[in-house]
């Protein structure tokens, strides 16, 4: 059942993005930014946490989870450290993703040559 929910939710988010991409003149960059901001917003009142419980990996794979984790980290940081925690905690959960992307991209761009 969790897999079905994951399929449904991730598919729905991607479909929404595709419809926005086709109907307006926004570039894919704009759309990913919109979805990150929406994900960050949905975490304000813990809506996204319920979505993660409902859809599992389906809610964690789309880029909305990036915004969700940023907000989540900032709020967790505040609870532990007070106001400075907003700065300390923001990257707590997302650092893995950003680091992985940068490191993979750096070393692979040294190894591989660009195609076409």
């Amino acid at each position: 059942m969790l897999y079905f929910n994951a399929f449904l939710f991730a598919g729905f988010v991607c479909m929404l993005g595709q419809i926005i991409l086709d109907k307006t003149k926004l570039t894919p960059g704009h759309i990913t930014v919109i979805f990150v901001v929406v994900g960050a917003f949905l975490d304000v009142f813990d809506i996204y946490d319920k979505l993660v419980l409902w859809a599992g990996g389906g809610a964690l794979v789309p880029i909305t989870s990036f915004g969700h984790m940023l907000t989540h980290g900032a709020i967790m940081g505040y609870n532990e450290l007070g106001f400075m925690g907003l700065f300390v905690g923001a990257f707590d959960l997302t650092s893995a993703g950003i680091c992985a992307a940068i490191i993979c991209a750096f070393f692979m761009s040294l190894i591989f040559k660009p195609r076409d």
Binding site: V61, A74, A101, S109
Partner: protein
């Protein structure tokens, strides 16, 4: 006369059903990405006995690694052309943007090429994510205090 003909031709060949078709393709590919994500979480937490939270991180790193590898091997661009938002909205799109920028600017040197341009496309995601997350959490905390 010519104009109406042309218009008819244009309406005949253009994108009404294309929007629907693209949306369905994006729905299916995005859904498959979600299933792969959930499958990887289950795989890591059952077979390698990693706690669920760390398994999530492992899943994201695996997806990012795979999409970087496939981008640099040249497959991923074709798949993105086919599935569009089905692969751009998942975290693979973020990795794809980083990787293709790094590959493209590599010939300009390590620092001025890769270093300066790697986050050219995906930097927007990080910056707007941080700004919005910081603002929203500040608002939430202010609301909580009041």
């Amino acid at each position: 006369m010519e104009k109406t003909k042309y218009k008819n031709l244009v309406t005949k060949h253009s994108p009404k059903e294309d929007v629907f078709y693209n949306a369905v393709i994006a729905f299916i590919t995005g859904g498959i990405m979600g299933i792969i994500g959930q499958g990887l979480i289950d795989f890591y937490s059952y077979y390698l006995t990693i706690p669920t939270k760390e398994a999530t991180v492992c899943m994201l790193v695996t997806l990012i690694f795979m999409s970087c590898l496939l981008t640099s091997l040249g497959f991923f661009d074709k798949w993105v052309n086919f599935a569009k938002c089905g692969l751009i909205i998942p975290i693979t799109g973020f990795a794809h943007a980083t990787m293709s920028a790094a590959l493209e600017y590599r010939k300009e040197g390590l620092v001025t090429g890769i270093g300066a341009n790697m986050l050219k496309l995906s930097g927007a995601v990080i910056i707007f994510g941080v700004v919005s997350a910081w603002t929203f959490s500040l608002i939430r905390l202010l609301v909580g205090v009041i």
